[in-house]
Amino acid sequence: MDAIIENLPLFLRGFWGTLQLLIVSGIGAFIIGVIIAAMRISPVASLRAFATVYTELLRNIPLTLVLFFTANVLPYLDFKPGYMTLAMIGLTAYTSPFVAEAVRSGVNGVPVGQAEAARSIGLTFGQVLTLVVMPQALRMVVPPLINVFIALTKNTSVAGGFFVFELFQTAQQLTNLRGDRVVAILLGVAFFYLIITVPLGLIAGQVEKRVAVLR
């Protein structure tokens, strides 16, 4: 316990690093993911094809390779905005196809009758989307989206392997310093991850229950 308390500032700095990674790449991935999802269901064939290839490729590249690319290969190609920014770029790119898939499955989950009913009373395409389909789709998308962000929280730990100071890096440095207190330090780090993931999971469960009642 003392190993944690005397190193608390370091833990908090690591926690702050993880939070920064989570928030910035979470927002970035959400924006890009929604755009990709919109491209994926658009009537324009070339946009659809691009979105499909983008999702397929990025979902099948391991995160380690993505971050290796941003942290080692991009600086090699003379792009050097600092490791934190590079890791954020990598995490954003890696997470965006998962967001896109979650959003798309939400849109697909709206019963066809809804869109048909909307069209049959004469709503235009834009009205169908904004007034009928999207309000229902977004509500169903929230739980899977939260799950994507939980995964992102865990994935930020990989950035610690690529020169970013966050919780995993805290764990590595502290276990080097205090080899006699490894278990306590690692459980401390685990605790900080759970502070983020457990509430998110509870919210997801709560939202899921509400949606289930409505359907």
């Binding site: 070339s46 397929e56 099948n60 391991p62 390779l65 290969v73 009758g113 169908v128 930020t156 991850y193």
Partner: protein
């Protein structure tokens, strides 16, 4: 779904759509071409020395050397070995977790649930570090154990959901013909749950294969470490990009292949294949009306089950 949102396009809309399509394709192709050109451009370093572009022959000539390919092959084999061993253990752990999670005694169920939630909420990387430092297993077994436990927890959760989704009668029937609780679980409930959850389990295997690359960070010599770090240290830094490119392509090929296998199996033996008669689902696996309402059912729509599903 998408087709329901708008009318079948008329000539004007088709032309417009084609136009946007072409403009989009040109923009995307232009972006790719610009990227490739930028990578191929010669670069001048700070001291004025000119370095060849990324596509220059001097950056790719090591791939004529068979020894390079042998090293890369060893790296790929190390990755696949870790994935295979971890997958077997993950399945075993998953089965155990699902039993614990669906146990009737509260004294088993609640602790197992807590442990499971803990494992699912942990970064795999942190688990690897924990096993590496606390049990001093070496990076290989640290990677295998962490991957097995983490994916086992997820597979266990999936299997439990599969068991829970079975009709109650299955279990009751098993018990009523005199099987013990454990026999019912193993012989009646489990095979059905497993088949129902096969797509999820296979999807998790893809995740597991991807996650073997995390062992790079704890120092296991897998594809990325051997292919990029070791080889570019040995042959020189100028091959860094080309080696990374090749490793990336190999990883992509492995994962895409496994994803496609997973999808193929999911199509063949999805939940609907587990039922005797898939009521209300046509033989292409769609719920009637899901692809737009059709007032008249065309004759012969129910023939040729296999080739229809092939599409």
């Amino acid at each position: 779904m998408t087709m329901v949102l708008y009318d079948a396009p008329g000539p004007k809309a088709r032309r417009r759509s084609l136009l946007i399509s072409i403009v989009g394709a040109i923009a995307i192709a232009g972006g790719l071409a610009a990227l490739i050109w930028a990578l191929g451009a010669e670069r001048v370093s700070a001291n004025g020395a000119v370095q060849p572009g990324m596509w220059d022959g001097s950056r790719w000539d090591i791939f004529n050397d068979l020894a390079v390919w042998r090293s890369i092959g060893e790296g790929a084999a190390a990755t696949l070995r870790m994935a295979a061993v971890a997958a077997v253990f993950a399945l075993i752990i998953g089965v155990l977790f699902s039993f614990g999670r669906a146990a009737r005694s509260r004294w088993v169920r609640i602790p197992v649930t807590i442990v499971l939630e803990f494992f699912r909420g942990m970064p795999v990387l942190l688990m690897m570090l924990f096993i590496l430092l606390v049990f001093a297993t070496g990076s290989y077994w640290a990677g295998v154990a962490a991957l097995a436990v983490y994916n086992g927890a997820i597979i266990g959760e999936a299997l439990r959901a599969g068991i829970q989704s079975l009709p109650k009668g299955q279990r009751e029937a098993g018990l009523s013909i005199g099987l013990t609780v454990l026999q019912t679980r193993f012989m009646i409930e489990f095979p059905q749950a497993f088949r129902q959850m096969l797509p999820i389990i296979l999807a998790q295997m893809v995740v597991l294969l991807k996650d073997t690359s995390l062992a790079y960070i704890v120092g296991y010599p897998e594809l990325l470490r051997v292919g990029v770090n070791y080889l570019s240290n040995f042959f020189g830094n100028r091959y860094f990009f080309s080696l990374f490119f090749v490793v990336l392509v190999i990883y992509l090929a492995m994962n895409l292949l496994l994803s496609w296998v997973a999808r193929f199996v999911a199509r063949k033996t999805g939940p609907k294949a587990g039922k005797l008669i898939a009521a209300g689902v046509d033989d292409a696996g769609r719920i009637p009306g899901a692809s737009g309402t059709r007032a008249i059912t065309l004759p012969g729509a129910h023939g040729g089950t296999i080739d229809r599903r092939e599409r």
